[in-house]
């Protein structure tokens, strides 16, 4: 069980406090798959970053298997079995794909090229490539997913895994994420994709840094359509003067 208890996150930008997440209460169970969805900027990646320890919450606590992990470092959380595949993978000058996979395998068991094949990259073509700007966005994204699969963590958060992945690989990607899910893992997929929302046990819908709704597909799906499709038009109607340029 992974628990967010009253998590609030604020950033200070130019001496002003900007609220990012507000009072997030969430229990994620082992063996379940979750989709975290909601409009751009609603706080999905921030939730993931708080879970991984990259952002320190302003208030609230986090628990993993009954342990309070709020003050644990990223490293300590990783070693306890929490993993995150970044929305925008970092690029590294000089570091090769095989180095990265070796680091990923270091604190888990098993080393092979299987993870690269799983995400549709031939090891012979990619192991010695450098993780710099010479790799395309989609390739970087696949390698990012491969590092998470390599670690095989108990809590695994994929942040928009489909972004930049071409259409025919998308089906394969969904299978890989689904197949890697186990009875003792908690899988969270941050996504806007209907196919992904269809494969999970529960959907969590975020809006403005809060959890607006959670439930099965039937409950949440109608709300998502409304929330994402109408946000712009609603905003325009709410304040003509402020959103005068908003496309209708």
């Amino acid at each position: 069980m992974f628990t967010f208890e009253n998590i609030t996150l604020e950033f200070t930008v130019e001496e002003k406090k900007v609220p990012i997440l507000h009072d997030i209460d969430l229990q994620l169970e082992a063996g379940k798959m979750y989709a975290l969805t909601g409009p751009n900027g609603s706080g999905k990646s921030s939730v993931a970053r708080v879970a991984m320890g990259i952002y320190q919450p302003t208030e609230g606590r986090l628990f993993y298997k009954d342990e309070d992990i709020t003050s644990l470092s990223i490293t300590e959380r990783a070693r306890r079995g929490i993993g995150y595949a970044f929305q925008q993978p970092a690029r590294f000058k000089g570091m090769q794909v095989k180095d990265m996979l070796e680091y990923a395998f270091q604190h888990s068991d098993g080393v092979n090229c299987q993870v690269l094949r799983q995400i549709g990259l031939c090891p012979d073509d990619y192991l010695e490539r450098t993780l710099d700007t010479s790799l395309s966005g989609g390739e970087m994204k696949r390698i990012e997913i491969a590092t998470l699969l390599a670690r095989n963590p108990k809590v695994r958060i994929f942040d928009e895994p489909e972004a930049g992945i071409d259409l025919w690989s998308f089906e394969q990607l969904i299978d890989v994420i689904g197949d890697s899910h186990r009875e003792d893992t908690t899988t969270v997929v941050i996504s806007h994709q209907e196919k992904i929302l269809n494969m999970v046990d529960e959907i969590i819908l975020m809006e403005d840094g809060q959890i607006k709704l959670r439930g099965d597909r039937e409950t949440v799906w109608p709300q998502i359509k409304e929330s994402t499709l109408c946000s712009c038009r609603t905003a325009c109607r709410l304040g003509e003067e402020i959103y005068a340029d908003c496309p209708r």
């Binding site: 990259i54 490293t75 990783a78 970044f86 970092a90 000058k93 000089g94 570091m95 270091q106 670690r151």
Partner: protein, 305 residues
């Protein structure tokens, strides 16, 4: 006879675990101690100056190792080497200098290499610098490389200084004739109170001459570095200079790439960047279970690879 220390230094600077495979000349504490010439690769002692001539016959393929090691304190070694790569030859040349300074005096090596890569030849040149020793004595290395790349020839230079050199003044001058190509990688790490200056001047003399200079450095502790790569196109050449430094602790880095063109067909680009290790890189590696220190180490070793 090579001692265990000699072998360690040779391994550090020239990747030598055993006798070098091709031609070689090993210089220790100011004297040549082992040498092998081969047919088509002649190594001779210079008559008028300390140093050697390496003469590679046209069309010859092979490797040459000419490492220098210093194992004494209070020693200043000055050497002039001339390397002549014949037309169409294809040679891997490994130079490099390893210093073990056991005492409190200076151990200094000033190496002047004059290299000509003749028409159509290929040279892959690697020069690694390494220093160690706990007597508190300074380890100083001042390499000067003067390289001429003739028509349609190609030279790849790898200049690396990774640990333990207190002071270095590196001068590299290259002339590239028509159709000639130069690729130069410089990698440098300084720490503590070390200083490193690298001054590179590359002249593109002819049409279709090209040069790529990639300089990567990491400055730690209280060390300081200065880079002044200059790329000058007298002919219709193309060139790219890239200086990229990671700065840490209280280090100082100065990077001044300069480009100059005297030909309307020339195309030159320079880029320079100094910055700390990117937070997103650290965070990524830590999320794989590495500690912050391990993550820094991994990023630096990749960057300097």
């Amino acid at each position: 006879m090579l001692t265990a220390l000699d072998k360690k230094l040779l391994e550090e600077v020239a990747d030598l675990h055993d006798q070098p495979p091709g031609a070689y000349n090993i210089r220790k504490d100011g004297e040549g101690i082992e040498r092998r010439s081969l047919e088509g690769i002649e190594i001779k002692t210079k008559k008028d100056q300390p140093g050697i001539d390496v003469i590679v016959a046209a069309g010859k393929e092979g490797s040459v190792h000419i490492p220098v090691i210093l194992t004494e304190t209070d020693l200043s070694d000055l050497v002039y080497n001339t390397i002549d790569i014949g037309e169409g030859a294809d040679i891997k040349l490994v130079a490099g200098c390893g210093i073990h300074n056991p005492g409190s005096g200076n151990a200094q090596h000033d190496g002047v290499h004059k290299i000509i890569v003749r028409r159509g030849a290929r040279l892959s040149y690697s020069e690694k610098h390494f220093g160690e020793g706990d007597g508190g004595g300074r380890r100083v290395l001042n390499p000067k490389t003067i390289l001429m790349i003739e028509e349609e020839a190609y030279a790849e230079l790898e200049l690396v200084q990774v640990r333990g050199v207190d002071e270095t003044e590196r001068i590299t001058k290259v002339e590239v004739k028509a159709g000639g190509r130069l690729v130069m990688f410089e990698r440098l790490l300084t720490d503590g109170e070390q200083t490193a200056n690298s001054d590179i001047a590359v002249k593109l003399m002819g049409e279709e001459s090209t040069a790529r200079i990639i300089s990567r450095s990491v400055a730690q502790g209280n060390s300081s570095q200065s880079f002044t790569p200059r790329l000058m196109a007298y002919g219709a050449g193309r060139g790219h200079v890239e200086c990229d430094s990671i700065i840490m602790d209280q280090a100082k880095v100065r990077s001044v790439p300069e480009i100059w063109a005297g030909n309307a067909e020339a195309e030159l680009v320079h880029e320079a960047a100094i910055g700390k290790i990117a937070g997103e890189q650290l965070v990524k590696l830590m999320s794989l279970g590495l500690t912050e220190e391990e993550a820094e180490e991994a990023i630096i070793s990749g960057f300097l690879k």
